[in-house]
């Protein structure tokens, strides 16, 4: 494996031998098509991102938040990308790459269904058969996304093992890949997994910070003091950070899900958060060495977050490395503050963000003085998928933001 597949001690390729040839083939394709633009791959990718995906996405000045926090807050509007989240950058890149590689079948895992829908859209767009593995539990709680995948012509394969959520779906997709590796490409959904995935997924998302940096220089004549992005696996995060990594004066803040608590229940094997960068321990999962939420034996713990897309026990190895290097600051925000961030952005800016994204606004609210004079926040996705969850979770809580919930409860009646 080429040394570029490691980020310090993180990364690598911890996969079954049967997959190694596919990984090597992919590495080769990545280097040729993505890094060297062979056959004009990157040109076609950029063109399709523009025409099909809707790039560039705007960098918007947030009037209300800027006033509230007395700092210039700019929003990178990845929520406007086709499908409603940054996810398409990666899904489109990988499905197109699979096509260049001569593969004729796409598989992917999905948790909340965001990566699955993005992959299904990209596969339909590029006329590739597509199967999505999704935990049975997730299927039941994310029906609209299941519908969207099916409408785009993708098969949705339920995974019933274990708790039936994201990590089981990843394992299951790897199993499918191990069997079908000659004809099939596995479109992984974040900057995780064995090399070259973390590098490659980052490079497909790099366009986010590419645009942000240019928009910032064009519009403000300067770079921001900080860039904020939520972090689950970390793909929107590295997408938003990549081009700023060498700009030492720009603070890069990865906002993880603090969930309901940072305290772990070892007996139950449950971490009631997904704050992998802040609290995780180095280990090996899903093909890479990285920080993990695990018990002292090394068994992976159930993570938790009110936002399904952050609910993962691992994190991209590159982020783990950048955190250790001190280049990226990991912070975390609990469920309550994320919900408040969700309502605040909805009410004050007219943008209903994904619950994942909302964590970044929770952080801004709690630390308005920490972000400098100009901060760019990556709005990684829109919240249409989260309406039911938000209503349910808001009802349970006494939030520090004015939301009149009664109207929802009774909307069949006296609203």
């Amino acid at each position: 494996m080429s040394e570029t597949g490691k980020f310090g001690q993180y990364g690598g390729q911890y996969v079954p031998e049967a997959l190694m040839p596919a990984i090597e083939e992919l590495t080769d394709a990545y280097e040729r098509y993505v890094l060297d633009n062979e056959d004009g791959f990157m040109d076609e990718f950029r063109e399709r991102l523009r025409d099909f995906g809707g790039r560039p996405t705007p960098l918007q000045y947030a009037d209300q938040l800027s006033e509230r926090y007395d700092t210039d807050v700019y929003l990178k509007r990845e929520d406007l990308l086709h499908g409603g989240a940054h996810k398409l950058n990666n899904a489109l890149g990988q499905v197109l790459l699979a096509k260049y590689m001569g593969k004729d079948r796409i598989i992917a895992e999905t948790g909340a269904g965001q990566h699955g829908t993005a992959t299904a859209m990209a596969a339909a767009h590029l006329d590739m058969p597509c199967e999505i593995y999704m935990g049975r539990t997730d299927i039941n709680r994310q029906r609209p996304n299941v519908f969207r995948m099916r409408l785009n012509g993708a098969e949705v394969n339920p995974v019933t093992v274990g708790r039936g959520t994201l990590k089981e779906a990843i394992s299951e997709t790897m199993r499918d890949w191990a069997t079908t590796v000659e004809t099939t490409h596995y479109v992984i959904g974040s900057i995780v997994g064995p090399d070259p995935f973390p590098r490659m997924v980052r490079d497909f998302h790099r366009v986010i910070s590419d645009e942000m940096r240019e928009q910032s220089l064009d519009r403000l004549g300067r770079l921001p003091d900080s860039v904020l992005a939520c972090a689950g696996g970390g793909s929107n995060t590295m997408g938003a950070f990549a081009e700023f990594v060498d700009d030492d004066a720009v603070d890069l803040v990865a906002v993880e899900a603090g969930g309901s608590s940072l305290t772990v229940d070892e007996d139950e094997g449950v971490a009631p958060n997904s704050a992998t960068l802040s609290t995780g321990v180095e280990g090996v999962l899903h093909g890479a060495r990285t920080k993990l939420l695990q018990d002292s034996d090394g068994q992976i713990m159930e993570s938790h977050s009110v936002s399904a897309g952050l609910d993962y026990a691992g994190v991209g190895p590159e982020l783990a490395y950048l955190v250790d290097e001190g280049r990226v600051t990991p912070v975390n925000v609990g469920d309550d503050a994320a919900l408040e961030g969700f309502h605040r952005l909805s009410q004050e800016e007219g943008i209903i963000p994904a619950l994942e994204t909302a964590h970044a606004f929770g952080y801004l609210h709690e630390n308005p003085d920490a972000v400098g004079d100009v901060t760019l926040i990556n709005v990684s996705g829109r919240g249409d998928k989260d309406l039911e969850t938000v209503i349910e979770e808001t009802e349970k809580r006494d939030l520090d933001v004015d939301v009149e919930m009664s109207v929802f409860e009774s909307s069949g009646g006296a609203m």
Partner: protein, 281 residues
């Protein structure tokens, strides 16, 4: 090449080895002890004893389910070592698990503490399906230090440089994967076996073939094709799972495992005879 004399001895006899797999602690600690011992009675030459990991990405449904049962019943690395000590068997035990458990064990990160402990309780080697040769240096070093072996899996897709790297690292035996895909009992054994074996013909470790061996005849076929051993997992786990599902007495399930082991061992022996005859022509 082998570090561990017991493991080496198992393949040095003049007959093909029968290498069954079970997940330690499936469906519970005590029953699992009985089942592993039944395999030994049935003719096992080496036993691959699974240490359950929460994310077994290389396993099919059958073994995944076994792992869930074992974890639910409280299996942990420390319990696993006790388990090995409690076992009353006379065949070398190889630990089959995922790298993270090796990596986390003990006070420092890295595989050394686990390997030390494994040597201590009498394990003879490791199969780590998510650890390719490229990432194996630390584990290789620890194995060498404690005279344990490190088995690698050669897949049907493994070629060229990758084979060379593995050849350098492997010891004890090589696990030849009979077909693509994850573990799981199938109805036939692929023709790929012969091709795969021919690629590593000149390696000086025993070649055990696994993935999809379910019956004595399968074992016979792969031994005829040149294997030094037959690895069987899912077909045995299926018997455990059925016993669990039907609430059968442990002794009955153990009998069935012993019978099945016997069938498979006999199949392997039959294969060896057929091979001898064929080469005698």
């Amino acid at each position: 090449m082998a570090n561990n004399p017991a493991l080496a001895a198992a393949f040095e006899r003049d007959e093909p080895a029968f290498v069954p797999y079970l997940a330690a602690g499936d469906p519970d600690y005590d029953a699992s002890i009985e089942y592993v011992e039944a395999l030994a009675r049935g003719g096992a030459d080496v036993i691959e004893l699974g240490l359950p990991f929460s994310e077994p990405i290389a396993e099919g449904t059958t073994i995944q389910d076994a792992i869930v049962r074992a974890l639910d019943a409280g299996m942990t690395p420390d319990r696993y070592f006790e388990f090995v000590e409690d076992l009353d068997v006379d065949v070398p035990l190889v630990c089959m698990t995922y790298y993270n458990l090796l990596y986390q064990y003990g006070d420092e990160l890295g595989p050394r503490p686990f390997v030390e402990k494994a040597a201590d309780v009498g394990l003879t080697g490791f199969v780590v399906p998510d650890l390719p040769a490229e990432e194996a240096d630390p584990l290789r070093a620890a194995c060498d230090e404690f005279d344990l072996d490190l088995v690698f899996i050669v897949a049907p897709t493994t070629r060229g440089e990758r084979l060379d790297r593995m050849r350098e690292q492997v010891s004890g035996y090589v696990y030849v994967q009979a077909r693509l895909g994850t573990t799981g009992a199938r109805d036939d054994v692929s023709d790929q076996t012969e091709v795969s074996l021919s690629r590593i013909d000149d390696w000086d470790v025993p070649k055990a073939v696994g993935f999809g061996i379910k019956e004595g005849d399968h074992a016979a076929r792969i031994v005829r094709a040149g294997a030094d051993g037959a690895i069987v997992g899912s077909a045995l786990v299926d018997i455990v799972a059925a016993g669990e599902e039907n609430d059968d007495p442990v002794a009955d399930v153990a009998d069935r495992l012993e019978t099945k082991a016997h069938e498979l061992k006999q199949g392997a022996l039959r294969g060896a005879e057929q091979r001898a005859e064929a080469s005698g022509d």
